[in-house]
């Protein structure tokens, strides 16, 4: 399902974290759209153009239009090179294009935009972009617009993330399941129940997606068949083994509190040689053998 994310259109939110970065998946999806013949625009705020284009071959690079907001996003150099209107202006300009055909816009990253722009402005712009076919007064047929937004989850509170999440048609959360990289995909189709599934994947060096079934059960990282099991009794200073005679004596020993049938018979039948013991008692002068008043304190 990971490879058909873009077919639905709308906003696709890629949520990544420090441990599991999402730029490779973003680049893999960008490559997919480029190979499908779509126009691809990239709003690059976090990495340089060279770094983003690295790994793509030239025919894909020719289809990518990179809007550079990395070098001087806040116009500190005070030159005329800064693109007017900032990233949102560029976004709106892409949507006012005249030629029809599907377009993919990759926002690298939405977190940067969310930190520098008010959340409401950003959400309104994203809503306008992804629901473009509903805008009136446009005579030319407009193709499908897909927006891929990379969002770093830890940077924002639950409010902005929730707002973006409600705008998104698809949400992909990157992480690891059972030790392997996986994507948790939540898909909201109109008039249908939202579906979610987990997909294991890896990104190949040329940024193509390799979908996997799941972590293989045979691969156990900790057991190595080449190391023989070690016998712990080899280097002891005391003897843990029993000889044959010792083992026989041990097996034939009857435990003292084990109630076997022989013991039962021995207890029931008094042994002839054993005399019963006698107690010889001579009462003292002060002894009182009166059972009714053993303490001798009743004043009767």
């Amino acid at each position: 399902m990971l490879d058909s994310l873009l077919s639905l259109g709308g906003l696709v939110l890629l949520r990544d974290s420090v441990e599991w970065e999402g730029r490779s998946l973003l680049k893999a999806l960008v490559k997919k759209s480029a190979l499908c013949g779509e126009q691809v625009h990239i709003l690059g705020c976090e990495v340089s153009e060279e770094e983003f284009r690295e790994g793509f071959d030239s025919d894909i690079n020719n289809r990518l239009v990179y809007h550079d907001f990395f070098r001087d996003p806040l116009n500190w150099s005070k030159t005329e090179e800064a693109l007017p209107g900032g990233p949102l202006g560029a976004l709106r300009a892409i949507c006012k294009r005249t030629d029809p055909g599907p377009v993919t816009i990759a926002l690298d990253s939405l977190s940067w935009l969310l930190l520098h722009l008010p959340c409401t402005t950003l959400c309104q712009a994203l809503h306008a972009v992804s629901h473009q076919d509903a805008c009136p007064g446009d005579s030319s047929p407009v193709g499908k617009v897909s927006v891929l937004g990379l969002l770093h989850e830890e940077l924002h509170g639950p409010g902005p993330v929730g707002a973006l999440s409600s705008l998104a048609q698809t949400e992909v959360t990157l992480g690891s399941t059972k030790g392997q990289a996986s994507a948790h995909i939540l898909c909201r189709r109109p008039r249908q129940r939202p579906t979610d599934q987990t997909q294991w994947f890896s990104i190949l060096p040329d940024f193509s997606l390799d979908l996997q079934e799941g972590p293989s059960i045979e691969s156990q990282p900790y057991s190595d068949p080449h190391i023989p099991p070690v016998d712990p009794t080899t280097h002891l200073t005391f003897n843990l083994h029993l000889s044959k005679k010792e083992r026989e004596a041990k097996d034939s020993l009857i435990l003292p509190f084990q109630f076997s049938s022989e013991k039962q018979q021995a207890l029931l039948r008094p042994r002839p040689g054993q005399a019963t013991s006698h107690i010889f008692y001579e009462p003292d002068a002060y002894d009182d053998l009166d059972q009714e008043d053993p303490d001798d304190d009743l004043d009767i």
Partner: protein
Amino acid sequence: MFVELNNLLNTTPDRAEQGKLTLLCDAKTDGSFLVHHFLSFYLKANCKVCFVALFQSFSHYNIVGQKLGVNLTVARERGQLVFLEGLKSAVDVFFQTQEEPHPLQFLREANAENLKPLFEFVREALKPVDSGEARWTYPVLLVDDLSVLLSLGMGAVAVLDFIHYCRATVCWELKGNMVILVHDSGDVEDEENDILLNGVSHQSHLILRAEGLATGFCRDVHGQLRILWRRPLQPTAQRDQSLTYQYKIQDKSVSFFAKGMSPAVL
């Protein structure tokens, strides 16, 4: 520099990678030994170093540097080291005329919006000098530490923008390296520090995280170091992504060992 740490990171001063941002972060312990390591590492690699030292004085770094085999005074005189001593120059801001922008100009302003003067100081310090021969290999920016800027009243987004511009200039344009220290207070209520730490983490290529032991202070094991390489999701790189070692800081070196394998315990 600590040779054992070089081995763990698989790098030497001669063949270090360029264009990388390294994040040092410490939680419940003092991670400044990593700053001293990288300072001596890059001085030995013959790099031009710009050190924005907001946490300690020059003499402190000099004394520790001498134990590690580098002389900061000589490096500064030679022009290899540009040292911004935050503690001293913060006072200069108030006694200076307002004509020249001071790197720590934000201390004077009530609502400082950005750290542009500090960025311009860094850019000026590291820009390549048009001399006959290239004296230094590549520029390096070292910051100790970034959390101080938050304490001095800057917002997390302003500090992130400063790092962004430094990265664009130092790492991308000049193909140099950056090493930044950020404290992780572990305080749930310090949202600005969390945003700063996570924001720089997402921009970095290598994260070294020094943590105190969960069981508390120990004489023989001073802490735990987590090394995280932020690489793309490749199938072969699974195991290399994150390593954890424990360490003990000695007078002139730091020894690293696998968890539970301290020589004092075995």
